[in-house]
Amino acid sequence: MNRMVPLAILALAILAFATLMLVIAPAIQIRSEAPTPGLKPYTAQQLRGRTQYVAQGCIYCHSQQPRSIDQAPDAERGWGRASVASDYAYDRPHLLGTMRTGPDLFNVGARLPSRGWHLTHLYQPRAIFGWSIMPAYPYLFERKEHAEPGDVVIILPADRAPKKGVIVAKREALDLVAYLQSLDHTFPAPTRAVRDDGYAEKGEPR
């Protein structure tokens, strides 16, 4: 080891270059992005629901980043147009997700707008989809003898309903569903939006 100094300089230079390209440059590119026109900030309830989304670990199985039709048939699945950086303007931190064990949720509010449906599905996914592998979240709900005023009673098929009383949603469940219903990015993306357009030319013939 008789060329310590040049070696160290080279190593640092490579590190600096990588940081510049992978951290600093993207940050500069994204920080000037205004929210996509049509994107609404979250309400207090939706923000609480977002916390639930994180706490319940939804992100481990659900992504929030539909890809363009040139990359995957996400739009045909009803998952919406390809997302762009400015769609995440109010998400700190973003909840892009990396796994698609379940479907993408970026537009779940558009394709599944029903609160009642979501509550049933969170309480017991297999009440709707017999084959679903999603975990149930019964602890976001409680059983009561009678629903009190203001309670949201969830609808269950006969074979899943409790023998006595009713299942009502706790506040956490209602918050989470409010957040899911807010996930609706069906407005168009700005032309010069920042996103990975790789493979876009492969769409031919369109």
Binding site: N2, R81, T186, P188, P190, T191, R195, R206
Partner: protein, 396 residues
């Protein structure tokens, strides 16, 4: 110093490593350039999406061909006994506001043009044409077929559009003459067929559910417009809706959510829901969103592709894709995600309930791009002008 540090001889970098390094660098540059092209294409796609929603770039003649000619015919002759001719139509000779109001609201009632009376069901174009489109279209149509050239402004259309949202379709020529222009001459009155009274039981089912299942409107919307993969139901034939609900129960059509819903409905509920939605007129909220080729879509919908054994959509779903009761649903203004998903479902077998299994064969001959093209084109069409009276239901 006992230890001897071995002398390192200078060795040049081996040639293969150099070659690999140069190749990697070239690859990197190529990828950057290639990506530049992709970015251009991606931007063009996004700008198309915006353009489709806000400012259609067609001129008046092109708008006429793509929006009016399937019914009124390219030469404006109309269709004997069904669609009024545009040439020599008193509605076009009147002030430009008349044509504008008709485009914005549509017509649902009898009108008289020349010597003939037409039972008009014209769609409202308010949800599919921009203010500028309507100005260009009205100018072109009146100039071509009535030799009238006084102009309309976008401001007029914007003002009228605000009012248009609050009222339904024009109830025939008599109402248009009374409200807009008395010079239209005598127009036939609305037929005595009673306006369909809203069925309170169906309305409760739709808006609140039956206690055992979710309300229809919680997904399909209060106006039956649907969204994304939730289909639009407004204006579909009553018997078609009832049949689909029945088919969910028997499993001929598979959709877990709808199967659960349909099992809680009695057959008479299904018919009530069908009747309820079939007379509903709702603006379109569908947008071409799958990146389909609209020109190809238009060709497939209007002419088919006989080289592949594909008949046109309109040969069964009607010349304006407004459906033919009871077997053939309306297709216009349907959400493209839903249409494309159904075309896939016919092939995969999750849906197997079409008349004579016609759709199975047709869907199998559409490739991915065609599916998206058809779905996107249908989404650009105006919503079904559902006849609002039960006396005159779909077809026969």
């Amino acid at each position: 110093m006992e230890s001897f540090e071995p002398y390192e001889e200078f060795k040049p970098i081996p040639l293969p490593v150099l070659i690999i390094a140069v190749a990697l660098a070239l690859w990197g540059v190529f990828t950057l350039l290639d990506n530049g092209k992709a970015v251009t294409v991606g931007r063009a796609e996004r700008s198309d999406q915006i353009a489709d929603q806000h400012a259609n770039r067609q001129n008046g003649a092109e708008l006429f061909v793509s929006r009016c000619a399937t019914c009124h015919q390219p030469n404006g002759s109309g269709v004997e006994g069904a669609i009024p001719p545009l040439a020599s139509s008193p509605f076009l000779k009147a002030s430009p506001e008349v044509a504008m109001h008709i485009l914005l609201n549509g017509i649902d009632g009898p009108i008289r043009v020349g010597d003939a009376t037409f039972e008009g069901h014209m769609p409202s174009f308010a949800s599919v044409l921009s203010d500028a489109d309507i100005v260009r279209l009205v100018t072109h149509v009146r100039g071509t077929f009535a030799d009238r050239h006084d102009l309309l402004t976008e401001g007029d259309v914007a003002t009228a559009r605000l009012l248009a949202g609050r009222r339904g379709a024009w109830q025939g020529g008599q109402e248009i003459a009374a409200r807009l222009d008395a010079s239209l001459g005598p127009q036939p009155p609305m037929s005595s067929a009673t306006q369909a009274a809203i069925d309170p039981i169906a309305q409760k089912l739709v808006s609140q559910g039956n206690g055992q299942t979710w309300a229809c409107a919680s997904c399909h919307g209060m106006r039956g417009q649907g969204s994304a993969s939730v289909p639009r139901l407004a204006g579909l034939p009553a018997a078609y809706i009832a049949k689909q609900l029945g088919d969910y129960v028997t499993g001929k059509r598979r959709n877990e959510t709808m199967q659960l819903v349909a099992r809680t409905l009695k057959p008479q509920d299904m018919r009530r829901i069908g009747d309820y939605y079939s007379v509903m007129r709702a603006p379109s909220n569908a947008r071409a969103s799958l990146g389909g080729d609209l020109v190809r879509g238009e060709r497939l919908v209007l002419d088919g592709d006989w080289a592949r054994g594909l008949p046109s959509c309109v040969s069964c779903h009607g010349p304006s894709t407004f459906g033919v009761a009871p077997s053939f649903p309306a297709l216009s203004a349907q959400h493209p995600e839903y249409t494309a998903a159904q075309l896939t479902a016919w092939v995969s077998g999750t849906r197997d309930n079409s008349t004579g299994r016609l759709m199975n064969g047709i869907a199998a001959r559409l490739n991915d791009a065609d599916r998206r093209a058809v779905a996107d084109y249908l989404a650009t069409l105006p919503p079904v002008p559902a006849p609002a009276t039960r006396g005159r239901t779909n077809g026969k």
